[in-house]
């Protein structure tokens, strides 16, 4: 404990001051130096010089003592668990914006899809008002409007189904079973003039030849489109009509 290799710092501190300690701490000038209190007038000159050194220790900062501020501020900005200053606030402001836009966009798309599906369903069931139904007929191929079924008694649609997929309106000349009466097909003589001419409405009409009796006679009743009516009544279009006779 008291050997030569034991430094003074490792010696135990006794609670009572020894005589030597009292002599060391009894100098009022030293206490004044440490406490920055009133410096005694009778202080030794060397103590005044020590005071100058202590004053130099507390002088203003030198340039090289302020060089690490940038790194310290960087560490301060990146510290965990503390609200970010300006740059972090910008990020926080942007982050909620994108999810909000995405939610709005998703809601708009969902509403549009649902609306379109409902409109399409209504169009295919034929419950839409006539102008809208007509528009749906043109755009998505829904059945045409009801009002159009009752007009044009002598006209036949190109697909031969004037009733339009079993619509309630029954066309003139149509059988109660819904089968359409095809367009009048003349007994063609093979003349090119016997070929029907499609009209703008998509319906076919025939140009009877002089050999015809003038009375169109249906040759088949299947409702198949007959761009080139044939006298066989097979319903198959042929490019060159074959006369029966």
């Amino acid at each position: 404990m008291t050997g030569r290799d034991v430094p003074d710092d490792d010696m135990p501190n006794f609670p009572w001051p020894s005589r030597r300690v009292a002599s060391v701490t009894g100098d009022p000038s030293l206490a004044a130096l440490l406490a920055w209190a009133q410096f005694p007038q009778n202080a030794a000159p060397e103590m005044r010089r020590v005071g100058e050194i202590l004053a130099a220790l507390t002088a203003g900062p030198a340039d090289d003592e302020l060089t690490g501020e940038t790194a310290a501020l960087a560490a301060y900005r990146n510290r965990p668990g503390v609200p970010r200053p300006v740059r972090g606030a910008r990020r926080r402001r942007r982050r909620p914006l994108f999810p909000a836009l995405s939610a709005k966009a998703a809601a708009a798309v969902a509403a549009a899809v649902l609306g379109f599906a409902a409109l399409a369903t209504a169009a295919y069931t034929g419950v839409l008002p006539a102008p809208v139904q007509r528009l749906a007929h043109v755009i998505i191929g829904a059945p045409s409007a009801r009002g159009e079924l009752t007009t044009g008694s002598s006209q036949v649609s190109p697909n031969g189904a004037t009733g339009g997929n079993g619509a309630s309106g029954r066309p003139n000349g149509a059988s109660p079973t819904g089968r359409a009466h095809p367009s009048p097909t003349p007994h063609a003589t093979g003349s090119p003039s016997t070929q029907p001419t499609p009209q703008d409405s998509g319906q076919t009409s025939t140009q009877p030849t002089p050999q015809d009796s003038g009375t169109p006679t249906p040759t088949h009743s299947k409702g198949k489109p007959t761009t080139h009516p044939t006298p066989h009544g097979s319903g198959k279009p042929t490019s060159h009509p074959t006369p029966h006779q």
Binding site: L30, T58, P85
Partner: protein, 204 residues
């Protein structure tokens, strides 16, 4: 700081002079720094860093800059949880710096040291000459170098009392000694300092 009539202008920690102490506005500055104000933290840093450097340049001169940088990193991490006045703040700063310096000393002790005769003369540490100190009119760096010539405990206690502005009880807790031992070490150090100046014939 010291008047010609022998009066002390006052302790910087008590009256806010010298630009190294924040004073009455410390609570507001600390609160702002804890809320994220860079300006407030910068003020804390500018107040504490010079004193920290002067202290660590005495207790761990070879790694002073590294020790101080690591001290601030640790302070930044614990800043939000700190509670206390300016005296407690400075005690925390210097306690952290002291522990970092001790860690560096332990790491250095594990590394094998080379023989001094293998070190080129230009790289050997130079003890400041008393005459040079007189010529430089006791600049801060010279005063730090002069204190580094004291026994470590004495120099450390003087720096913590004077540079850090801590009272005897706080210094005693910081260095793990009794307040009486701190007083003795400080007074012995000042006496030794006066003897060094007298031996060198320095007149200021």
């Amino acid at each position: 700081m010291w008047s010609q009539g022998g009066e002390v202008a006052g302790h910087p920690l008590r009256d806010g002079q010298g630009g190294s102490v924040i004073g009455e506005g410390f609570a507001a500055v600390l609160g702002a720094a804890q809320q994220g104000s860079e300006a407030a933290f910068s003020r804390l840093w500018r107040d504490g860093n010079p004193a920290l450097l002067r202290y660590v340049r005495v207790v761990a001169p070879e790694v002073a800059e590294d020790v101080v940088a690591e001290t601030w990193l640790q302070v930044v991490r614990g800043l939000a949880d700190f509670r206390g006045d300016e005296q407690a703040w400075r005690a925390w700063l210097f306690t952290t710096a002291r522990r970092r310096a001790i860690d560096y000393g332990r790491r250095r002790a594990r590394r094998p040291a080379g023989a001094l005769d293998e070190v080129p003369p230009g790289l050997l540490p130079v003890t400041p000459d008393a005459a040079d100190l007189a010529i430089e009119r006791m600049g801060t760096r010279s005063a730090v170098a002069l204190l580094a010539g004291l026994p470590t405990t004495q120099a450390e206690v003087i720096l913590l009392r004077v540079v850090a502005g801590l009272d005897t009880e706080t210094v005693a807790q910081l260095v793990g000694r009794s307040p009486g031992a701190v007083r003795v070490a400080a007074h012995r150090g000042l006496r030794r300092l006066a003897e060094m100046l007298a031996e060198a014939g320095v007149t200021l």
